[in-house]
């Protein structure tokens, strides 16, 4: 009975809004101010970093918490399996995959760096470029068994990049303006050095996401496979 009443109230409210009329007032303001005042060609980047920059700081914090939580939960199993020296995969990767991994890894890192450096000019940005770089590391992790990632370096890069993001926001306060205010000049449109602190923030976010996702993938992949007698003799023959 209560359900019927609630349905009636909701439907009566929704049918009072006229259908098919443009209500995007805030979006129109963003699209108008983004090339003129900020000098940024990609409106999505301008919204994510500048108009809604505080939400991006929260997103980066959530990613950091997820990566730290996963590392903390699986830390004991990773330690045990590092002592027993397991294999990351149960079969050695073929020669084609190994040579292709060595050849493609710098190209993938170059593509990812291009995507997050040009985040304010072309579609993409920090998060996409960081995940592309982590995919390159995943290729090497699956191709070579003896490839190891030093977790101290990954943790330092992640923490310093996150601190750079917060530090750029605090520099706005130190210079007498708001938190995360754009204090560098806007520059001309479609230039690489345009848009104030937006490319700097996206470079920091790109490094941070790449380091985080690489750490997560290495933690998940190094749980180890249950080596029983059959696969052990087979891999010894293959190697």
């Amino acid at each position: 009975m209560v359900l019927l009443y609630l349905t009636y109230v909701l439907l009566a409210t929704f049918f009072q809004i006229p259908f098919g009329i443009d209500h995007m007032n805030v979006a129109r303001e963003y699209l108008k101010h983004s090339p003129k005042d900020l000098g940024v060609a990609n409106a999505v980047t301008a919204i994510v970093v500048n108009f809604r920059g505080f939400d991006t700081l929260g997103e980066v914090t959530v990613l950091f918490l997820a990566s730290t939580g996963l590392g903390a939960i699986l830390f004991r199993r990773r330690e045990i399996h590092t002592m027993l020296n397991p294999r990351r995969t149960s079969v050695v990767a073929s020669r084609i995959v190994q040579v292709a991994g060595k050849f493609l890894f710098p190209l993938i890192v170059l593509l990812g760096a291009y995507v997050f450096i040009h985040g304010h000019l072309t579609p993409g940005g920090g998060f996409q470029g960081g995940v592309i770089i982590a995919t390159g590391y995943l290729f090497l992790l699956l191709a070579y068994r003896q490839f190891a990632i030093r977790h101290s370096v990954v943790t330092w890069v992640e923490s310093l990049a996150g601190a750079t993001f917060a530090g750029l926001g605090l520099t706005g306060i130190i210079l007498g303006k708001q938190f995360l205010q754009n204090f560098l000049p806007a520059g001309t449109l479609n230039d690489l050095l345009s848009g104030g602190i937006i490319p700097l923030i996206y470079i920091a976010v790109g490094f941070k996401v790449a380091a985080e996702i690489t750490g997560i993938l290495d933690t998940v992949l190094s749980i180890g496979v249950e080596v029983n007698e059959q696969t052990q003799t087979q891999t010894q023959k293959n190697e």
Binding site: N42, V44, V115, P123, G124, G125, F127, Q128, V131, I132, A134, T135, L138, I213, L217, V220, L221, I223, V225
Partner: protein
């Protein structure tokens, strides 16, 4: 609404629904994971055709590469056939 738009959306919708039914129906979890990554791929093409390239890049990088590898490693560490 150009012809390419209509063709891509129609064919993509059929592949999407087929892959989703396949992913739910199969008992071999590895095949279900591959079907999920096919769904992410078709969805990424949809986002590009609907003029949202940032979302398409994100969906292609995360949906196809990242969640697929995490699911495969999870299936390797647990059991492969559900019952």
């Amino acid at each position: 609404m150009t012809a390419l738009f209509i063709i891509v959306i129609t064919i993509g919708s059929l592949v999407l629904i087929g892959a989703a039914i396949f992913a739910v129906h199969k008992r071999d979890l590895l095949l279900a994971t591959v079907a999920t990554s096919v769904i992410s791929l078709v969805l990424s093409v949809f986002y590009f055709v609907l003029q949202a390239p940032d979302v398409a890049l994100t969906e292609a990088a995360i949906g196809v590469a990242l969640t697929t590898i995490i699911f495969i490693v999870t299936i390797k560490n647990t059991k492969r056939f559900e019952d």
